[in-house]
Symmetry: C2
Subunit: 324 residues, 2 copies
């Protein structure tokens, strides 16, 4: 059995790749620009070039089981990009498995980038040691990944885990998906900024930060809001409560549905640290059966930016070696 | 490998049991009263008596792989009832596997009754031929069951599938679970009656049925409402739209989360027939990613009252024979 895989994390800015083993130990980590604006054909050419660079560094494909990749959007069973990757124009419709097989002679396995980050957390990170785990990545939007019995669950068409679009507020904030009140509109970095701006006028008396938000709304970021949470600013504290209360509604729905052993929260927003974990945990048991909440830990992701890369490599062992 | 199993469906009124094979073919179907009001010890004694009756009819346990049962509430991995079975006082805490092993010398496998009905639909009914399926039982309440890769998904603690408690209306109707706006409060038989009563005053001009609802509110049942839907009564039609719109929000959340190949709707309410399927289907694609909705069929359950029995028997083959 071939002991290594190539993992590729396809981002809007960079393609990042590495050779890794089953324990998630990486070597030859390499980054090249995605050149997303040049279109799908260029992105594919760059992905193939990165795979070739890694094969060359490794000295051949003898020990390589295959190439795994994570991408924004959906990937079908034949390795075709089905859409949902708005920041990669022309990427939809690309047949990635065929291209990798033809050019490099290797089998390929691809999936949504957040989904495979969940796989990585399950194998090598905050989800280690439990059977059933759900990961939420709180970034510009919110993505999800579901691990069932230790294996990534993607659904028959690779589309499962769109957990950012669980509705948590009837008739709430409009979402680019076409619905209203999706959890993505309350607990993503984008939403945190919006909520801070919305609430600021109510806090001009008590919060210096509120005045700054009103004076310079364009300077507000999720990081700045959570820096203020650490300083116990009243506006920032209220934003955190609002964000976590809504996030807890979404997590409550996930708990009542799947009763996972662990919820792993990752993504840029989680740089804020444990204040989010603590506040969300407070609200979750009000939003599902308490017996289910008691049996689920809510924890922070551990792998940071490497999760996509590690998940891509792990996907190869699971899919091509048939471990899952 | 032993070819048969005993399946028991534990209801509030009757215990129903049968011997069955892997294809869901049953024999010796037997019913005895549950005697729920006499407490958990009596319920267990009756369950054991029913198993013994079936063993006697079968002429021994030589070909019996084990005993499966479905029960209201949750069952843990050791066969202990964890609660959630309010209509069976004293049933919580009962150790059913131990009792079956000691009395009958057979291995046992138990699960929530709605969950195993989903397993039955997956194997023998409306879920045949697909890998990933979610079942919603629209009865007095709403129960759920999730089948992933052809196997029942119950979560580590047997508590997954509480899909009746997906919140579909922020701050909506209070639910016995302690939350507000659960889908159970909008699409169960109980909810259909409540909604008919709530809407009736607006329809006194246009609907003869509305006048009856106001005059004799205690006579209204979900069946009567759907009989009026068939006659195109304006109140009943509006109730159906309200019910299905809210149900579609819950189904949309399930679709975005799990992207199943099929949603199977069962339970007493589905006696109403295809009007619910048609109306719900109309609303679902507005409540999730259309690409996911396009890849999911919404269908009616096929097995009716036998689903629990068949699922209990199937659970034995899955769990004890290790097929899942």
């Amino acid at each position: 059995m071939k002991s290594f895989s190539i993992g590729i994390d396809l981002g809007g800015t960079n393609l990042k790749g590495a050779v890794m083993d089953k324990d998630g130990k990486t070597r030859h980590i390499t980054r090249i620009p995605t050149e997303a604006q040049k279109g799908g054909a260029t992105v594919l050419a760059n992905l193939l070039r990165l795979v070739e660079m890694l094969i060359e560094k490794e000295g051949g494909t003898d020990m390589i089981a295959g190439v795994g990749f994570g991408t924004p959007g959906f990937v079908d069973r034949d390795g075709m990009i089905l859409g949902g990757a708005e920041n990669l124009p022309g990427w939809k419709g690309t047949r990635v498995y065929d291209a990798i097989r033809e050019r490099c002679g290797l089998a390929a396995a691809g999936a949504n980038d957040v989904t495979i980050a969940a796989l990585a957390e399950s194998r090598f990170g905050a989800g280690r040691g439990v059977e059933n785990m759900v990961c939420l990545a709180l970034g510009t939007g919110i993505g999800g990944g579901i691990v069932i019995n230790g294996c990534l669950y993607e659904g028959t068409h690779g589309m499962a885990g769109e957990l950012g679009h669980i509705v948590v507020q009837t008739g709430g904030a409009p979402c680019p998906c076409g619905m209203r009140g999706c959890v993505e509109q309350y607990a993503s970095a984008t939403a945190i900024v919006r909520i801070a701006k919305e609430l600021a006028p109510n806090y001009v008396e008590s919060s210096k930060f509120a005045k700054e938000v009103i004076l310079h709304p364009d300077r507000v970021t999720a990081k700045i809001v959570y820096d203020q949470v650490k300083k116990s600013d009243p506006l920032a504290l209220q934003v955190n409560e609002t964000v976590c209360e809504k996030l807890a509604i979404g997590i409550g729905i996930i708990l009542n549905s799947l009763s996972p052993d662990r919820i792993v929260l990752g993504g840029g927003v989680m740089m804020a640290g444990h204040v989010i974990i603590d506040t969300v945990t407070k609200y979750v048991s009000q939003n599902c059966w308490p017996q289910i909440a008691q049996r689920c830990q809510i924890v922070a992701a551990e792998l940071g930016e490497d999760a996509g890369l590690l998940g891509a490599g792990a996907l190869v062992f699971d899919r091509i070696h048939g471990a899952c």
